[in-house]
Symmetry: C2
Subunit: 310 residues, 2 copies
Amino acid sequence: MDIEKRLLQGDKRACARLISLFENENKKAIDIVKRNYSKTGNAHVIGITGPPGGGKSTLTDKLAKELRRRGKKVGIIAVDPTSPFSGGAILGDRIRMSDLALDSEVFIRSMGTRGYLGGLSKATQGAVKILDIFGMDYIFVETVGVGQSEVDIVKTADTVVMVMVPGLGDDIQAIKAGVMEIGDVFAVNKSDLHGADKTAREIQTVLDFSSKDRRVPVVKVTARLNEGISDLLDEIISHMKYMKESGEINIRRKKNARTEIISMVERELLNIIMARATENNLLETITNDVASRKLDPYSAKDEILSILEK
Amino acid sequence: MDIEKRLLQGDKRACARLISLFENENKKAIDIVKRNYSKTGNAHVIGITGPPGGGKSTLTDKLAKELRRRGKKVGIIAVDPTSPFSGGAILGDRIRMSDLALDSEVFIRSMGTRGYLGGLSKATQGAVKILDIFGMDYIFVETVGVGQSEVDIVKTADTVVMVMVPGLGDDIQAIKAGVMEIGDVFAVNKSDLHGADKTAREIQTVLDFSSKDRRVPVVKVTARLNEGISDLLDEIISHMKYMKESGEINIRRKKNARTEIISMVERELLNIIMARATENNLLETITNDVASRKLDPYSAKDEILSILEK
């Protein structure tokens, strides 16, 4: 049967296959997403981020299980920013989720930072769309959150959950206001450890300086013991309710659409430039001149741009 | 006096000021670099990278001091990829270098990952050019090396030094071949620690599978105790000698020039398109349509690109 039909009929394997095709910029996959784009926008997309060691994958795992108990369909995209120096160690984390993976109403996908033709952000956004068309009620995008690119990925969610842990101590002051700003809900995980109350209070103090209209909740949880998970989920759902009632969801989704369109335009532009600049050997000639210091790179840029105007 | 003249006469403050202006995409600063571009290409640019905790800044510090003993002028650009979660902790590292900073023949500059209009890579390359025009014999570009963007920065150097430490153990197997590949010289720092020989051997084993024509040296050093620094520096200088004799320096610099030109063209084209797309409200209209699911983002991208053809 046709992959598009299978996707719409709820075949998880079709979903997995389509995401893979999409990652490789397969035209057929992109066309399927285009045709079914009007079916997107129904899922509640939840970003999960925070410093390394915060237990984010366990937390996502437990939130997904709680949603299953409530009869919801759940997709999970785990972004593993395989550091060029650490390799794929993080993938091991996902193995814990294997009992969830057996659930027919749950779809889990890991994505590394390498090997995506169109960049990880694009691949993640594509996977979210496919899971949305597939009919997931909730889609988690979990990142290990070590760098700006991971923060950029998670920012495209409807609700961003920042996962902290006790013992960050004075470091909490060092957390950039700009990053705190992206959190819609804060979770202090590993709250059975000493200092959880102090950490929660410190987060609250930083949040007091926030410019947001809405109070940002700080929820203490211990994901490993499944403590506080239901409360955290309620806060996440409550955030979406607020977003819809206040109309903020439209503002946020518009902003995300804008960012996505611009980055696609940027990428395609690069392809166009490369095609034209290489076709008459111009790029080669200019590059030689710059490398031999006959021409400076700024004038080189202007020369290439002038061709495009022709 | 004119800043350009002061730069060419060796005024360090003019150098610092010009780098700041350049970071802010000041036209005058760009013009100065353009006018003096033929004076670049003389400095030996050395990239220093490797996993966090490798003692890279101490190592750079000691290499710079050894170069000073040999009567050379040294510039250091320390790229601090301020993690969105860690803040500016790394800046503290640079304070250790204060005795170097007092040296009139040494210029040190820290660059964070935020607040650069044209991206960190562009700012770093600009600073390298200014230091090159200024007359530095050696320019270090040191990155904490946690992500792909830092690797991209260091790749633009003439010689890339990968700094490892004992105790990476089995993890060395996990280090991606693609990253090992960028190292021209390997330094095993903290070689007074247990396991330095084992680490050096393991690196060598990985390197044995390398496709490079030249043997990649692995040097054991203990930067803190200034041990092995002179040997390491000799290997770095020897790499440049090899690059020049084999003509590989031209290939590498051409490749870097190409990457730099393309990224500048890309950036400027995007600015042009965005200016056009916002001027007639097209971007706004299209974004609204995408956010409300009337239009898919792929078709939106095509519509915006069609502006270029007009």
